[in-house]
């Protein structure tokens, strides 16, 4: 079973395909503890109208708790949740006007796809003919117009999540919440559905919060990515900015691949690394003895074959056009470098190489323990 492509263009003027003005969502100083575990520790975040914001972070960073608070399934110990400036903290979940797609398959097993999509409309006592028409329109929107009579167990995982998306959009919510909706799907379907969710979100112009722990997913889909750690916001920026100018060492290492190379701060603005001096990007951390780690992306590391070189290639991983080469420095520090595949062929594991960095500012962080 293959998922058909979601390619329904915005017709305009009718029902769901009309571009809606998205809502503004604000989290203000949200705090929530579960016993001794602090899930949210004063989260402040604003989601702009019509944007897709990804909440990204490792397990237990509080991203799902934040989403569930907006949905009304969790309540903060303190702080406020505002939608379009209106405080909804005390509003029950069914009056929040949000649509949600869950991580696990959440379709009602006793209803077919059409009735699942029409469920919310039935609860709102919309007439049978009207709700069936609207549900059919939504099924068409998610690319499954012929699957209305199928029950959830007759649908693939990808199809179930599309139906769940249609169901979430049925009541024309002000905010769409996606709680890791792709994590249970296999890689190929995940990729297709990712693009389709994005296209649909842009077509409808609906404010969307997307929780994920997959940085690639967040960077490829979102207008902005909010990286969370320990219940707090580390950085909220566009994917390009997050990658190029991470605000903290955590963000730098969580978003994309980063190697740590030992270095030493020589004066306030220069760091000595791999035998050369490079300017520090931002402020150098004040650490005793100036011992720091220099953070470098694999595409910035240059390797050259050098029989006198003290670094050794330990592994290579073919990624298509590029090959990721892992080398160890004399102290045993691993460094990853992305090389064009044809250049990497000359560096088999065990080769002696010289490691070099381009002459531009580098990020530094206190030396890792």
């Amino acid at each position: 079973m293959t998922d058909t492509t979601l390619a329904v263009p915005l017709a305009g003027g009718d029902g769901h395909r009309t571009r809606a003005a998205g809502a503004t969502v604000e989290f203000r100083a949200l705090r929530r503890a579960f016993g001794a575990t602090v899930a949210l520790d004063g989260l402040d975040l604003t989601v702009r109208p019509g944007e897709l914001l990804a909440l990204l972070g490792p397990s237990g960073c509080g991203k799902t708790t934040a989403l569930r608070m907006l949905a009304g399934f969790e309540h903060p110990d303190s702080g406020l949740v505002l939608v379009d400036g209106e405080d909804v903290t005390g509003v029950p979940a069914h009056r929040r006007d949000t649509g949600m797609v869950f991580q696990s398959y959440s379709l009602f097993p006793h209803l077919n796809a059409l009735d699942n999509v029409a469920f919310g409309l039935r609860m709102r006592k919309v007439g049978a003919a009207e709700r069936r028409a609207r549900a059919a329109e939504l099924l068409e929107l998610v690319g499954l117009p012929d699957h209305g009579s199928r029950y959830p167990h007759q649908l693939s995982g990808g199809q179930q999540q599309r139906i769940a998306l249609a169901r979430a959009l049925a009541l024309r919510p002000r905010v769409l919440l996606l709680d890791e909706p792709l994590s249970a799907l296999d890689a190929k379907v995940r990729l297709t559905l990712r693009e389709e969710i994005r296209r649909l979100q842009q077509e409808l112009g609906i404010t969307t919060l997307f929780v994920t722990h997959d940085q690639e997913e967040a960077l490829s889909m979102a207008d902005r990515v909010a990286v969370m750690r320990g219940g707090r916001l580390e950085q909220c920026a566009t994917p390009a900015e997050l990658y190029a100018r991470p605000a903290t060492a955590f963000v730098a290492e969580f978003v994309g691949t980063m190697s740590r190379i030992p270095g030493r701060v020589v004066d306030g603005g220069t760091v000595e690394v791999l035998g050369r001096r490079l300017p520090v990007d931002g402020e150098a951390p004040a650490v005793a003895g100036g011992e720091v780690d220099v953070l470098v992306r694999p595409e910035a590391v240059r390797l050259s074959h050098d029989p006198a070189g003290r670094a050794r290639v330990v592994a290579t991983a073919f990624l298509g056009a590029v090959t990721r080469v892992t080398v160890t420095l004399p102290g045993g520090t691993p460094v990853k470098a992305d090389l064009p595949t044809e250049s990497a062929a000359a560096l088999p594991p065990g080769s002696a190489v010289a490691v070099d960095l381009p002459d531009r500012p580098v990020l530094v962080a206190p030396r890792a323990a």
Partner: protein, 287 residues
């Protein structure tokens, strides 16, 4: 091992389990069917007259048959309603709100299995007899009298509710295990449904099999319960069967055979009715 297998005559290894299976099945069938067949023969073989279905005809004409059967069915329906109204919200709340209390509820719901009905009825009897004279004019005393109304003894419904708890709890618990109640209720609520409506429209339809199982077990329990009803002095179906067996042996066995057939019919109906649920629980299709 492979060599050993090749040395065996073809089909021996496959035939032997089949032979055993047949033997075990035959023994089990004999264990159940021989007494049943003996009962049927006893009811239809009238000495000196040959075969006759007269005993079955008498059932419907016998004194007290209809009233006792109707009373039992009414009691069963009332018990099913009370026990489900009590247990469904309780087990859903337990699963969603207080999973840590599960062992406590497990033990409480298993207690009726440990306490024999004779002890239960002794306790109930003592409570019902307790009523000092100065309370005679109070609503409390009148309530005690009302729940012992022989036309519809509510006290039996209360006793049966307690006795059905272990079966109903287990049936519902097994049903809930197969459903992701939290996600279903949250999905329903995000579709603009209030909590009670989410329970009715999103959770209960997916517990159809469990609800039917619980109802059937309760029905079987109430139809066959003798001790409590007899000792409290009421005459539902089981008590009537025992009473009638003293004077009309053939009739009472015919009633037993008939009630067995009714039970089987209900069980078959349940299996075919619940089939839809198991089909829906079939594994998801692959991508």
């Amino acid at each position: 091992m492979a060599r050993l297998t090749t040395l065996l005559p073809r089909g021996v290894s496959a035939r032997r389990p089949r032979l055993w299976r047949g033997a075990v099945l035959a023994c089990a069938a004999a264990y159940f069917l021989v007494p049943l067949a003996a009962s049927v023969v006893f009811t239809v073989d009238v000495p000196g007259k040959g075969l006759s279905l007269d005993a079955y005809g008498q059932i419907f004409r016998a004194d007290g048959f209809t009233s006792s059967l109707l009373l039992s069915l009414e009691l069963a329906l009332a018990t099913i309603a009370v026990v489900l109204l009590l247990m469904v919200p309780a087990v859903v709340a337990l699963r969603l709100g207080a999973p840590r209390l599960r062992p406590v509820v497990d033990i409480v719901c298993s207690l009726p299995l440990v306490v024999p009905p004779i002890a239960l009825v002794a306790g109930i009897g003592t409570v019902l007899r307790w009523g000092p004279e100065h309370l005679a004019a109070t609503p409390f005393f009148q309530t005690l009298v009302a729940i012992q109304n022989p036309a519809f003894p509510v006290v039996l419904v209360l006793a049966y509710t307690v006795m059905a708890l272990p079966f109903v709890y287990r049936a519902l618990d097994a049903g809930l295990r197969a459903v992701d109640v939290r996600t279903l209720t949250e999905a329903a609520r995000s579709c603009g449904t209030s909590w009670p409506r989410a329970l009715v429209h999103a959770v209960l339809p997916n517990l159809r099999g469990a609800l039917l199982n619980a109802s059937f077990l309760t029905l079987a329990l109430v139809l066959g319960e003798f001790t409590v009803a007899q000792l409290l002095g009421f005459q539902p179906f089981a008590v009537w069967v025992v009473n009638v067996s003293g004077s009309q042996a053939q009739l009472s066995v015919a009633v037993s055979v008939l009630s067995l057939l009714i039970t089987w019919a209900l069980l078959l109906a349940l299996t075919s009715f619940g089939g839809g649920t198991s089909r829906r629980a079939a594994p998801r299709r692959k991508e």
